[in-house]
Symmetry: C2
Subunit: 137 residues, 2 copies
Amino acid sequence: VQPEALKEFLHRRHLRLTAERLAVLQAFVSAKKMLTPHELHALVADANVGLTTVYRVLELLTKHRCAQPFLVEGEVRYAFCSEEHHHHFICLSCHAVAEIFDCPEPVAADLPQGQVQYHALDFYGRCSACLEGGSPC
Amino acid sequence: VQPEALKEFLHRRHLRLTAERLAVLQAFVSAKKMLTPHELHALVADANVGLTTVYRVLELLTKHRCAQPFLVEGEVRYAFCSEEHHHHFICLSCHAVAEIFDCPEPVAADLPQGQVQYHALDFYGRCSACLEGGSPC
DNA sequence: TTATCTGCAAAAGGTTTGCAACTGA
DNA sequence: TCAGTTGCAAACCTTTTGCAGATAA
């Protein structure tokens, strides 16, 4: 998400573009990995953004489906998400996230077909960086 | 899980069969839905089982892959899980869980194939009971 | 008998809320 | 100007831990 896109995103919803939101969003997007609120706060600490604001931005993004919380090994981690339907590849070692736009449209025979509203499909493993270098990302 | 199976399960791991564990497990299995620790505690309250014990049983089951925590609408909910590979159908209204053993073996083209260790596939919607009756489950 | 398990109370974390000051539009 | 936003501190809730008493094996 570029500054312009963010401005447009916020303006469409009658929300204000603030330095804090910009800082949080840029840190979040450029991290390209799942972050805990605490980790995200650490990334914007030098911009003097409070932890409360980090929580509020995450809530805002989640509500607008631009972020999604996951439970990874007991911790709540947020991933930045595109608006299109997609899945994820998540690195268990460094929590890097890659979006998978090629949906295999999973169909299980013993599923109550008419009742499904949506599905979540996530792949877990190790990213190439973590497989190669011993110390990851 | 029947009492005998539980006894065998615990004995194999040098763990003790207690009335509390039996009560929690039976309530958990027979609920057939995702429960918060708090909800599970309420189900065994008349058996005088403490909340701490509920947490400890859930931790034990999770460690042995007999339970799995999910993040559903901001809440941590546990589902009882078979040992075989399976997926889930989760009712968004009453949190009923159905295990899906027919795995579609999802393959996405743009996925780093060699790196995937496992995948999670979950279907969300409304169970028949909730679709029919207005007041669900 | 004894290592394990339980409940209670306290501690520890993580997340949310109230509020006064600040600020983008 | 003024509704929306922020940071701080306090409140809240969930989960974990320490410990003394109870108990399965």
